[in-house]
Amino acid sequence: MALSILHRMTGVVLSLGLVVLVSWLFDAASGPETYAVFLSVMDSVIGKLLFVGWSFAFFFHLANGVRHLLWDTGRGLDKSEANLSSWLVLTGAVVLTAVFWWLAS
């Protein structure tokens, strides 16, 4: 049940991530000086913490989104099934986030 609002919250967080993605592309297109400013902001401690948050928000929203798509087909709507899938989504999101950072490091 709590996952419903978390889906929205991560969605809003990821919309802010879209701004960063576009900044990345746009600052790269603008040239090395502009890009250096972007990089210095994102390379800070706060920037890195935000990135960890975005990665979890991304994988949670993705996993829970798949759950929503399955619900749209009429599957997995029982209370026990929904409870099980909520744990699968949370675990999956944590695992995917961990794998992402393991691959990135």
């Binding site: 929205r8 969605g11 809003v12 990821l14 919309s15 879209l18 701004v19 993605l21 576009v22 990345w24 592309l25 746009f26 790269a28 297109a29 603008s30 090395p32 890009y35 250096a36 990089l39 994102m42 990665s55 991304f58 994988f59 993705l62 989104g65 798949v66 929503h68 798509l69 749209d72 992402f100 950072w101 691959l103 990135a104």
Partner: protein, 126 residues
């Protein structure tokens, strides 16, 4: 007894006049983003570095340019649909709601335009 006209029933647009297009658009972009987002996450994890040269080389590779274009535009549309629902649900003052909806639309179109221009500029220069 249904008061709906035969034409109204065939068009299937309902009282809000846009039928299921919002719902459907959100789902189709969600499915697309499942693939594009996974691809992007993989690329970011595998990036050798985020320096200027590495970024330009990555964005400028033709296949990456195409997928980045699709990803950012699809993401902007999906985000637009999602933020629209959030505004409609939580902003209650009619005037503020309208302004917020319009600003969100402008912002998302701006983001999509900036992404398209940036990727094309880098991709066509490479």
């Amino acid at each position: 007894m249904s008061l709906r006209t035969p034409l109204g029933r065939v068009l299937g647009l309902g009282t809000a006049r846009d039928g299921t297009s919002h719902w459907w658009g959100q789902r189709v972009t969600a499915i697309a983003l499942l693939f594009l987002g996974s691809w992007f996450a993989w690329c970011i994890a595998m990036m050798p570095g985020f320096g200027y040269a590495a970024a330009i080389a990555f964005i400028g590779r033709p296949m990456n340019s195409v997928l980045l274009l699709l990803f950012s535009v699809t993401l902007a549309y999906h985000s637009y649909l999602g933020i629209q629902v959030v505004i409609e649900d939580y902003v209650h003052a009619p005037g503020v709601k309208l302004v917020a909806l319009i600003l969100s639309r402008f912002a998302h179109v701006l983001l999509a335009a900036a992404a398209i221009f940036a990727v094309l500029k880098i991709g066509l220069n490479a």
